[in-house]
């Protein structure tokens, strides 16, 4: 099967509020796929649905041929061992050192001898450039470094699927470039599939093989980064060229200014 993750006819609501409607997406093995869209467009919800943290109202999500939402808890946890996820703010365990954070999934899921575990953790930390920060606590490192530690933890078990939730948010340009390079390099080195949820156009286009654009819970455009750059779709144009107004209005919808100031016709 060429696709590691497939989403078919997916509908998801929070209460009465529809978030995703009739979604169809493919995530081929070995590729970096970017899912882009404005805030509140449902990007992170897609990751949570793939990880089985949320259940859809209808439709199917399958990972490695297994329908995620038909699995029982044991099956879901077994499937999650094939996944790694980088949370927006790293979600490091604040009471553990950098070393212990990366060692956590290895200690939980393997019976490796301490020497081998140590070597593996140091190799993962070396891959993200933080081997010498192993003894520090999360409170002692910067936001960019925390994101890299979280990345090392996400790849600790060499997952088939790595999901990134806004990996560039709040990073300085240097950290952003470093993180983007790491995502691409690690994906290729591990032979994994990466799903990159982001609204950072420049960095995402640099490393992604394919891009989905999401608006109001539906795919509005998809293609390679080059195709997206040349797209004439008004939403894609507004997003890629960072235009203030367009299909996504500057003003929150509602009453007009004239109405609010009482200047309308009596």
């Amino acid at each position: 099967m060429p696709n590691l993750v497939e989403i078919r006819a997916l509908h998801f609501n929070y209460g009465d509020r529809p978030i995703l409607s009739d979604l169809r997406m493919d995530f081929p093995r070995g590729k970096v796929i970017a899912v882009m869209g404005g805030s509140g467009s449902g990007k992170t919800t897609i990751l949570r649905l793939i990880g089985g943290q949320l259940a859809p109202q209808s439709g199917e999500v399958s990972v490695d041929g297994q329908p995620v939402h038909a699995l029982d808890t044991v099956g879901l946890y077994r499937l999650r061992r094939k996944m790694g996820m980088l949370f927006q703010h790293g979600a490091l365990f604040t009471d553990l050192t950098v070393f212990e954070n990366v060692a956590f999934p290895l200690r939980e899921h393997t019976q490796l001898p301490e020497e081998l575990l140590r070597d593996l953790v140091l190799m993962k930390l070396h891959a993200v450039g933080l081997r010498n920060a192993a003894r520090l606590k999360p409170a002692e490192i910067s936001g960019g470094m925390a994101r890299r530690v979280a990345l090392a933890r996400a790849i600790a078990l060499d997952p088939q699927l790595i999901m990134y939730d806004e990996p560039f948010a709040g990073l300085d340009p240097i950290s952003m470039g470093v993180t983007a390079n790491l995502i691409r390099r690690l994906n290729d080195a591990l032979g994994s599939t990466s799903i990159l949820v982001s609204h950072d156009v420049h960095e995402s286009f640099l490393i992604a093989d394919y891009v989905y654009f999401l608006s109001n819970g539906a795919i509005v455009a998809e293609g390679t980064p080059d195709e997206m750059r040349q797209s004439q779709d008004p939403y894609v144009k507004q997003f890629v060229h960072a235009q203030g107004d367009g299909p996504v209005p500057f003003h929150y919808p509602g009453r007009t200014l004239a109405d609010d100031l009482g200047l309308g016709a009596p």
Partner: protein, 259 residues
């Protein structure tokens, strides 16, 4: 719009029953997740050390002052009836049967309980629990169950420390400062305190309070809104609910134990 008071009361009853049912299911989930702890006792012992350290000083100091007060009040009352020789047994029974378990539980709720709620709530707000789930690690098994059993084990030990220090406090005031006879103080205590009727019942109380306070703290932390305000509210709820629960349980247990 004014709501029909009957409808509001009915709504409150329904919400309370649903909340209690949810808490009961959560309690069962914690118990089921505890099975794996036999293979990893270190998780529990680390938390016992942690929780015990949180509360030991405040409980020892409080026990000493409560003992002082019991020595003073006890002497005042017993002296009216010429029974000051019974000060030792009065101090010991008050502490072992009642004040030790209850005051320790209230202090434990304020010190370790709030700390547990804030810790779990902040772990939730920082997506640490979600990250654990995505690493195929059950946070109830890895985080909540060890803390729960650590609280249950630590409570009777802390209550014993409270009672022991309280007896020393009563001795300092009653014997050393006021001048009650040393031998009478200890011998009356030895004769008057029963291992099963008094000490064992006190231990049972403190174990039950340990269950109640620790579960309340963990449940409130786990169900906290993942915001600073949500964690603050959950911490306050822990103190209020756990304290009321301890006092209510104390009444129920006392009614059954000392009929």
């Amino acid at each position: 719009m004014m709501q029909n008071p009957l409808a509001a009361f009915g709504g409150w009853i329904r919400a309370s029953v649903a909340g209690a049912g949810y808490a009961a299911r959560f309690f069962i989930a914690v118990l089921r997740a505890s099975a794996g702890l036999w293979r990893r006792p270190r998780l529990v012992s680390d938390q016992i050390h942690f929780i015990g350290n949180y509360s030991l000083v405040i409980i020892a100091v409080s026990g000493l002052f409560v003992g002082f007060v019991l020595g003073l009040q006890g002497y005042n009352i017993l002296n009216r009836y010429g029974s000051e020789q019974a000060l030792g047994v009065m101090v010991a029974l008050s502490l072992v049967r009642e004040l030790g378990p209850v005051v320790t539980a209230l202090l434990f709720a304020g010190r370790a309980g709030t700390s547990l709620t804030a810790e779990i709530g902040l772990m939730k707000a920082g997506e640490q629990l979600a990250a654990m789930e995505m690493m195929a690690v059950n946070p109830i098994e890895r985080v909540l169950a060890p803390r729960f059993w650590a609280g249950v084990i630590a409570m009777p030990v802390l209550a014993a420390v409270f009672s022991a220090v309280g007896v020393i406090g009563g001795y300092i005031v009653g014997v050393q400062l006021i001048g009650v006879d040393d031998g009478a103080f200890w011998s009356q205590m030895q004769n008057g305190v029963d291992l099963w009727d008094d000490i064992a019942n006190g231990v049972i109380k403190s174990v039950v309070f340990g269950f109640a306070v620790t579960f309340t703290a963990l449940f409130q932390g786990y169900e906290a809104q993942p915001t600073p305000e949500g964690v603050a509210r959950a911490t306050t709820r822990t103190v209020v609910i756990a304290s009321l629960l301890v006092l209510w349980l104390d009444f129920v247990l006392t009614a059954f134990m000392f009929k």
